[in-house]
């Protein structure tokens, strides 16, 4: 036995140990893992940990904290060791979760239908009518296929005797399945041989079943049903998961304001008009889903959604109203509901729970308070759990008075002794620690009954003896391996067969919001690139030994820095030390105009595009942001800052490479490209106007460097830069991707295509801009001091501003605008 590995792994006192059956006697299904850890060199694990960290970072796996005052994304925590469960044990869990999902679905159907359970006295009415999650407008709606609960999650914990218990039910919009999938992809790569040899069951078919079942039950109107994933938006704590699932399931990710209800049907607002939505997998809470009939203060929902459900015109998964079952009060009643509705005994017990609304239960809770935890009976009450063992005499008195005053509002539960499992100690080279764990298991409805995801999300507490596990309170997670006894299904959703009828080529289904974000993604990435080049130029001049005659360009560069907001306008020129400080801040400080601030804006518009941008885009973006964040924390030499700018500029080149080489030429790509071209054209115009206003005999290589055209120039002319060839290259040369001509002609082409697709929207067609370009006489116009070129630059700049405005009005105007409520009595 590897003593070093286990030196700090404690004996489980009074709790179940996932790893050991008895002191130093590992359970059979853990042995291959332990053997590998003991046999391999320590170096191997270090590499593995680094690889896991890198993948999590680069894929941008985060868990957003509402509570965080910065609103910052916290990285998702993942332990490198999976939780391993043998097939026999899993089969029992699976059967119990299938039964429970079936039971809860039947209970929901009854409460939102006939209400036999209430009439027969099997459920106290207070549990339904006292729960804010009982949505009266949803009563009487007949869900397609008799299914209200499409995706269900059970939180399980294992007691000291090794039995599994259900401690919570997630019926509304269970989170974590996407994280489980991401965990699996990362951890299976960390232990590729073991993963294969242990025959770990794969997860993909679960997601395929979910998608297939939604399509199966969605209302039909001929073609393939159109399914979308509804998210509350990027501020939600599990937004990463929404984007991840949307991409994995191949569903467009939409927000409430992207949808509208007409004629009792749900529609997606797209570039080409409204597109019917047949099914909606939602990650938005029940009562926020329809501000017209449900919570009137919701800005996130789709007004009229409940009515569309009522008319049977849309499948909403889970059905609205499912939140009703997220209440611990129900737990004590489930055994008899199971007998009544399914005619069988409940397979897996729930943690012992007493609802204080029953007088006998209240008495027994008061008598045993020190062994119990008191919780709110209904989610709307927002009471933190109170542990009886923490209360002194005065505290208990207060709690008992509280229970007596409003008994219906409280439940009491036994405190669950969570089992412990090994986690890898990242601060040590070879050591296992013990942590309390809970297991979240997922089930989805299918026409053949509920199907359980073979695996799940293992949640890890921050200590071995923790009483609660919460991802919001700094917990971590694990992959969950169910070891198959038979052959493993290697089905992958990524290889789903598409019929010829399902082929999609046009890309006009794009929602208006996506298109707006793509447009700004184009603009901001170009803007950041220009800022980085300007900063590099300015910083480089501070470091290099500038010959005296180049000092004459300094005022122009300072003026460009002022134009970019990096230097304050209208102040005297700074000295070199001041300038260095300002430039350094402009590189790394997000709160000031400059590169870091620009990147933050870029990340903001990119975030809702996650499901449309490839992982490579993300990695590049994340790397840049992290690189700059490092500069904030420590003060680097100017040369290092310069090196970081080089990296950033290289990264932007990579990003534009993805856009050029990795994106289909659908309308979305055109909007992105229009954004880029408009921004580049404006930067060029501003820069050239500045250059033209300087001394006629100024040195011009700074201008070429800024416009990334110095290589071409040198190759062509092999001489120091002069006005005529420089201006020809930067203004007239249609082959130079950084010339005015290239931008203007591109914009003319793209606008033409938009008009072809969507009809004339009064857009700037760049006819006079092109005519002006063609009318340039190099001998006359391409010199400083000729007013005509300067005026043309201004015209081109104005034309691109007009186009930006017209595109916005035609395609984005209603996006971002939230609907609002009105009341009149």
């Amino acid at each position: 036995m590897p003593r070093e590995l286990l030196a700090d792994y404690p004996q489980a006192n009074g709790r179940h140990d996932e790893l050991f059956a008895a002191p130093l006697e590992a359970r059979a299904h853990w042995k291959p893992m332990l053997d590998q850890l003991a046999a391999e060199p320590a170096e191997r694990m270090r590499e593995r940990l680094q690889s896991v960290q890198r993948q999590m970072r680069e894929n941008g796996v985060t868990y957003n904290m509402y509570a965080d005052p910065q609103g910052a994304d916290r990285p998702w925590e993942l332990d490198v060791l999976p939780l391993i469960l043998p097939q026999e044990e899993w089969s029992a869990i699976e059967a119990a979760v299938v039964q429970r999902a079936t039971l809860l679905n039947a209970t929901l159907l009854d409460i939102y239908g006939e209400q036999r359970l209430l009439r027969e006295g099997l459920l106290p009415p207070a549990l339904v009518h006292g729960h804010a999650g009982f949505l009266r407008p949803c009563h009487g709606i007949k869900p397609p296929g008799g299914t209200m609960l499409h995706l269900y999650a059970a939180d399980l914990a294992r007691s000291p005797d090794g039995r599994w218990w259900v401690i919570d039910d997630r019926t509304q919009a269970p989170s974590g399945a996407g994280y489980a999938l991401e965990n699996r992809i990362v951890i299976s790569r960390a232990f590729p041989e073991l993963y294969r040899d242990l025959k770990v069951q794969h997860l993909a078919s679960f997601f395929a079943t979910l998608r297939y079942s939604l399509a199966h039950w969605a209302p039909q109107d001929g073609g393939a049903p159109f399914i979308v994933l509804l998210t509350p938006g990027p501020l939600n704590e599990t937004y990463f998961e929404h984007t991840y699932l949307a991409r994995y399931l191949g569903l467009p990710l939409v927000e409430g304001s992207d949808l509208t209800v007409r004629e009792g049907c749900v529609w997606l607002k797209t570039l080409t008009g409204l597109k019917r939505v047949h099914a909606l997998l939602r990650r938005l809470d029940d009562d926020y889903c329809d501000p017209l009939e449900l919570r009137s203060d919701s800005a996130l929902g789709v007004p009229g959604l409940v009515d569309a459900m009522r008319r049977g015109n849309v499948l909403v998964a889970n059905a609205l109203g499912a939140n009703l079952l997220e209440s611990s009060t129900l737990l004590g009643f489930l055994p008899r509901l199971c007998e009544r509705l399914l005619g069988e005994a409940l397979r897996m017990p729930s943690v012992a729970t007493w609802w204080c609304g029953e007088p006998a239960a209240l008495q027994s809770v008061i008598a045993n308070l020190e062994r119990l935890v008191v919780k709110a009976a209904f989610p709307q009450l927002r009471v933190e759990p109170m542990f009886g063992e923490d209360l002194d005499q005065r505290g208990s008195k207060r709690v008992i008075a509280m229970l007596r005053a409003r008994p219906n509002d409280y439940v009491a539960q036994e405190i669950v002794q969570l089992s412990q499992a090994p986690v890898w100690d990242r601060s040590h080279h070879r050591r296992l620690l013990a942590r309390a764990i809970g297991l979240r298991v997922y089930a989805c409805a299918s026409p053949n009954g509920y199907v359980v995801m073979p695996g799940g999300l293992t949640r890890v507490a921050s200590a071995a003896d923790a009483r609660v596990i919460s991802m919001q309170r700094g917990g971590s997670s694990k992959d969950t391996w169910v070891i198959a006894s038979g052959p493993v299904s290697t089905f992958s959703l990524l290889r789903r067969a598409v019929g010829p009828g399902e082929l999609v080529r046009s890309g006009t289904n794009l929602s208006s919001r996506v298109v707006e974000n793509l447009f700004w993604f184009g603009r901001y990435s170009e803007r950041c690139d220009a800022t980085a080049r300007l900063l590099r130029l300015a910083l480089g001049r501070l470091l290099d030994d500038i010959p005296g005659d180049e000092e004459r360009e300094r005022p122009m560069i300072l003026e460009l820095l002022r134009g970019a907001g990096i230097l304050p306008k209208g102040e005297r020129d700074p000295d070199d030390a001041e300038l260095a400080r300002t430039l350094r801040a402009a590189v790394a400080d997000e709160t000031r105009p400059g590169l870091a601030g620009g990147l933050r804006e870029l990340a903001r518009v990119a975030s809702p595009l996650r499901e449309r941008l490839s992982f490579d885009n993300w990695r590049t973006l994340n790397r840049m942001t992290r690189g700059l964040a490092l500069h904030r924390s420590r003060s680097l030499a100017l040369a290092d800052v310069l090196a970081e700018l080089d990296n950033t500029i290289a990264s932007f080149t990579t990003l534009s490479g993805y856009a050029l080489d990795g994106m289909t030429r659908d309308p979305g790509w055109r909007f992105l490209s229009i954004g880029r071209r408009i921004e580049r054209l404006q930067t060029l115009c501003t820069t050239l106007q500045q250059a033209l206003s300087g001394p006629a005999d100024a040195e011009l290589s700074w201008l070429l460097r800024l416009a990334d055209s110095i290589i071409t120039y040198r190759a062509r002319y092999m001489a120091s830069p002069e006005w005529l060839p420089v201006l020809d290259l930067l203004v007239c040369d249609e082959a130079n991707p950084r010339s005015i001509a290239f931008q203007v002609l591109g914009l003319q082409d793209f606008t033409g295509r938009l008009i072809e697709l969507f009809g004339d929207f009064g857009a700037e067609r760049f006819e006079s801009s092109v005519a002006a370009l063609q009318g340039i006489d190099p001998a006359v116009d391409l010199h400083p001091g000729r007013g005509r070129l300067s005026a043309m630059l201004q015209d081109w700049h104005d034309a691109s501003s007009r186009l930006a405005e017209q595109v916005g009005l035609r395609f984005f105007s209603h996006v971002g605008e939230r609907s609002r409520q009105t009341f009149a009595s």
Binding site: Q115, L118, R119, E120, G121, P124, P125, A126, V128, H129, G130, A132, R136, P137, H139, G140, T260, V261, R262, E263, P291, L292, E293, S296, P303, G304, D307, E358, A405, N408, H814, E817, S819, R820, Q821, T822, F823, A824, S825
Partner: protein
Amino acid sequence: MRLNVLHETRYRYSSPVVLSQQLLHLTPRTLPWQACRTHRITVAPQAGEFDWHQDYYGNPIVRALLAAPHEALLVRAESEVEVAPREQAALAAPQIPWETLRERLHALDAPPLEPADFLYESPHVETWHELADYAAKSFRQGHGALEAARDLARRIHKDYAFDRKATSVATPLRQVVRQRRGVCQDFAHLMIGCLRSLGLPGRYVSGYILTDPPPGRPRLVGADASHAWVSVYCGEEAGWVDIDPTNDCLVDDEHVTLGWGRDFGDVTPMRGVILGGGEQELEVRVTVTPMSGAPLESMHDG
């Protein structure tokens, strides 16, 4: 009594509304003591979608959708309603001590379901100990539920001032209690909160009262707007009895019932969601006249 009701709601918006979805609780409910002879709702500009339904509580409800841009919206509901007296019947019904009633409603073995909807907190009606304490002065030991509820209405009428400027639809009940003033909607919520704080059901009723009373009877408060009062559950035999705390009276044939729910939110006369619109101005006018009375006054279109 035969009454004519005209309820006009006009919105003016500073910029066009591009989509407006409205739920209208403007149709009088058909009841044993109330029949709606004629009823018509007109929406200007014309609604693209307009259909009738019944809500969860059985109230008639209209769903209207306007997708053409508009800068004003006029909704006009006109009804002729026949209302029979019911005060005497309420007074004649058998009375049950309120504690007995409460026990029955909270029994664990299949208590009556219908009042259960109205026993607990709802979005506009919070319950807390202060309300229970206030109500307890009327709900003395062994008193009948109706008798106690009438006393509660009398005290609310005495202790609270009617003040149109004091509250809006968004004012929470706690603030109404703090400032001791409000309008009929606030008094209805307050009385319901008191009942529920004691564990008794309370229902919010939306409707109208006669604008100008018949000779010899006093003009009631709240007559030129939509009105609200409370329904108190008095046992399986006596059923629900309506009490108007704003006027400290039992509801008789001068009240027209639109519908009921747990609170204002369930039966808001006009609840909508709009896209666009900018600043908005709202004007509501209600006129209730006896059928033999003076001709109807109306807002002019345009």
